[in-house]
């Protein structure tokens, strides 16, 4: 069976989430590997969310926010940009493939770009294979007696 990556998408309510909605309403198809979580702003994302997602079995994390300068809260994504850049460097130095983590600026009108990014990122993660370094291996459930 071919490996199907699990990808966590964290999308900003005002741009990327609406962009994803647009991709849906315009009936663009994109891979189903993405699970989207909506946050109010990309600066809402605690870096621990990303580490935790990898621990709980995500193969890739995609963060979407408004274009710099377009933030609903004026400056949120400018803080997020610095913060997530550091997250990426930390993942890289710890020895995780930095390609598993991606930040994209997608506005509410860019349904096409959203579908394109998800397609591309899913392919990228698929090529990297399953993420095993961070993942917590749980013991299988005991069979019912």
């Amino acid at each position: 069976m071919e490996f199907e990556p699990k990808i966590l998408g964290i999308a900003c309510n005002w741009c990327t989430y609406t962009g994803a909605d647009l991709a849906g309403t315009t009936r663009l198809s994109y891979p189903q590997n993405l699970r989207v979580v909506r946050v109010m702003c990309s600066s809402r994302i605690n870096p621990s969310f990303i580490f935790r997602a990898f621990q709980l079995g995500a193969d890739g994390v995609l963060v979407g926010g408004c274009h710099p300068g377009d933030c609903h809260y004026n400056t949120g994504n400018l803080y997020a940009r610095r913060r997530l850049a550091v997250t990426k460097k930390i993942l890289e130095f710890a020895g995780i493939e930095p390609e598993r983590f991606r930040v994209e600026w997608i506005s509410a009108s860019e349904g096409n770009k959203f579908a394109e990014v998800v397609r591309e990122f899913t392919e990228q993660v698929r090529n990297l294979g399953p993420q095993t370094k961070f993942k917590i291996e749980r013991e299988p459930m005991p069979e019912k007696i």
Partner: protein, 288 residues
């Protein structure tokens, strides 16, 4: 470039006594006698009679800025700082944890401090490698003009060259040693959160028992929380009972922050810490 530690100790005592007698400060943070000469402890002098207990020798490595945030706001404090410690003081002022006007900074220019565990001389391999305090009111002793310090980031080259899997194996091996005593957190002048994220139960950010995944979560998040704030005193690695080279990761993050945002932690009082600040012209390239 030999340092007269006895001379510094005498000066520290005189200054501390003067400040306490004049009532300019209510406490003096300095070093006191431990169970032997190799293990001096942080010491708080509260009146002029306490001053006799102050010591200073080459094993006084602890970063006293750690204790600044323990006192109520507005307490007048005099603090003895070495080079890296003074950067911690600046960083705490930037973060509005203490006020400059409540502080009397007694700067100690010093080189050739020794690690009390190993007896090795501490240099820019594990610390920022500065000799002279960046911020001080009273300088105890003469500024040290030694040979130029090699870049504190040089030690990283070996690890940056490594293949990512080798680096993962290295960090996994190191972090698996962690026994979760939180000595790194206790020794760090910048770790003042109450409660720390790892002590929270709702949400529970990571496992609290000393096992691989919880250790990874704790340390990686701690590295992230100290990004752009770590002043590279190396105290976390010296405090660590199982000798995890935490300074390496802190140095790496500090180096990346310096390259990306062009600002070094704890050098100027007017700066804002890098991660609570932004520039519109920050490039998107940093995310690649």
């Amino acid at each position: 470039m030999s340092i007269n530690f006895k001379h510094i100790e005498d000066k520290l005592k005189t200054e501390a006594k003067k400040l306490l007698e004049q009532g300019k400060v209510s406490i003096v943070l300095a070093y006191g006698k431990g169970y032997d000469d190799h293990h001096p402890m942080p010491y708080v002098a509260r009146n002029a009679a306490d001053v006799g207990n102050i010591v200073f020798n080459e094993f006084c490595t602890a970063n006293l800025a750690r204790y600044l945030v323990r006192y109520p706001r507005g307490t007048k404090i005099a603090i003895a700082v070495k080079a890296a410690d003074s950067r911690a003081v600046i960083q705490l002022i930037q973060e509005d944890k203490i006020k400059r006007e409540n502080l009397v900074v007694l700067g100690i220019p010093v080189s050739g401090m020794k690690n009390s565990k190993t007896g090795e001389i501490i240099d820019s391999k594990t610390t920022c490698g500065l000799y002279n305090p960046v911020l001080y009111d009273i300088l105890l002793g003469k500024e040290v003009h030694g040979k130029s310090v090699i870049s504190p980031y040089d030690v990283l080259a070996e690890y940056e060259k490594m293949d990512k899997d080798a680096r993962w194996d290295f960090w996994k091996k190191e972090l698996d040693k962690c026994i979760r005593c939180y000595a790194c957190r206790k020794a760090c002048p910048m770790c003042y959160c109450d409660p720390c994220f790892i002590d929270q139960n709702k949400p529970k950010w990571g496992e609290k028992s000393p096992e691989s995944h919880g250790n990874l979560m704790y340390h990686l998040t701690r590295f992230h929380h100290l990004a752009g704030r770590c002043i590279d005193c190396g105290e976390c690695s010296r405090a660590c009972p199982v000798n995890i080279p935490l300074y390496l990761f802190h140095k790496k993050v500090a180096k990346e922050c310096e390259e990306m945002f062009g600002q070094v932690a704890g050098m100027k009082i007017e700066d804002k810490p890098t991660l609570v600040n932004f520039r519109v012209e920050d490039s998107d390239k940093i995310l690649e």
